[in-house]
Symmetry: C2
DNA sequence: ATAAAGGAGACTAGGTTGGTCATATATGTG
DNA sequence: CACATATATGACCAACCTAGTCTCCTTTAT
């Protein structure tokens, strides 16, 4: 239970943009498509923009679109933006692990490292082009009446 | 970073007891051996007792010992006691996943399920006899001067 | 000019984490 | 029995994190 709601929301947004296939979507539209409170969605989109994942255009008929080919955006990248390190415990991060007074000869730490590596492997090989393809072009919350992805 | 300090402390305690090989250790001794505040260690040992992992004896020269063969105690079991579900997100738990309005056709969810399965597989195949063996019979915090595991 | 969009940042209720402290109960030893 | 040493129980707490909201400002198409 370590994926925060915010991270989940962000991955939803990126997936929706990947499915939209280059179309520009505004924050409100996007927030309805992925069932996220729109004020919160805006905040999340800012972070995605700062991280270079999406780019924004202002003014009426402005909005957001992906900054790269969906095939080049991995789930690992999005998760890292919002969650930081992927190791289950601080002593087992790949980069600058936090020292622990028990770490000498700690066999637990190698297990956590295994979990870390397995997790990273899965998230790195998962890109949003594949995820979009698996969604078959349609992915909407239950109860959304407006036709999805048609202006 | 989803393993809480408490869970880490609990796994340390169980590993120390596994290394002690059936010897009875009291809370204070144990707390020094694994570098955990002793009042907190007691609280954790209560939870481990309630879960049936350790058994306790009261009075002078009382203490705790493992309730089963270390080979029969998996890391998965200890983690579940303190953390509950192992899935990275509520919608992807094996038992009674939390419904989500986006779940129909959600390709993200299958990825989280992959992460869940990989994690569980590693933690289930890791038992404390193996972990103890890998520690080579000695595992103490830096700075502990008293001879470990010799009365 | 106006309206529709993004941008920046302060604020917060409620829950979780990582503990502490006081007190009661059980038991081995002399 | 008295006493020291242990576990047992439960209340309590500060700090931090989560999941948001709200207000006001700037940009831009028409
Ligand atoms: S005890 Fe081992 S697993 Fe736990 S934090 Fe220290 S090094 Fe890591
Ligand atoms: S959007 Fe998909 S991954 Fe996220 S919570 Fe809903 S079902 Fe799970």
């Amino acid at each position: 239970m370590w994926i925060s709601r915010k991270t989940d929301y962000a991955t939803r947004a990126v997936l929706a943009l990947a499915i939209a296939d280059g179309q520009r979507l505004n924050a409100q539209d996007l927030s309805r498509r992925v069932a996220v409170p729109d004020a919160f969605m805006k905040q999340i989109l800012m972070q995605l923009r700062d991280a270079g994942v999406v780019r924004s255009e202002r003014g009426p008929s402005g909005g957001y679109r992906l900054n790269h080919d969906p095939a080049d955006i991995t789930l690992e990248r999005i998760v890292r933006i919002f969650q930081g390190q992927l190791a289950p415990i601080e002593c087992a991060t790949r980069h600058e692990p936090q020292p622990c007074s028990m770490e000498i000869g700690c066999s637990l730490r190698t297990v956590w490292a295994e979990v870390r590596d397995a997790t990273i492997a899965i998230l790195e090989r998962t890109d949003f082009a594949t995820l979009a393809a698996q969604s078959g072009g349609s992915w909407v919350p239950v109860g959304l009446t407006t036709k999805p992805y048609t202006v």
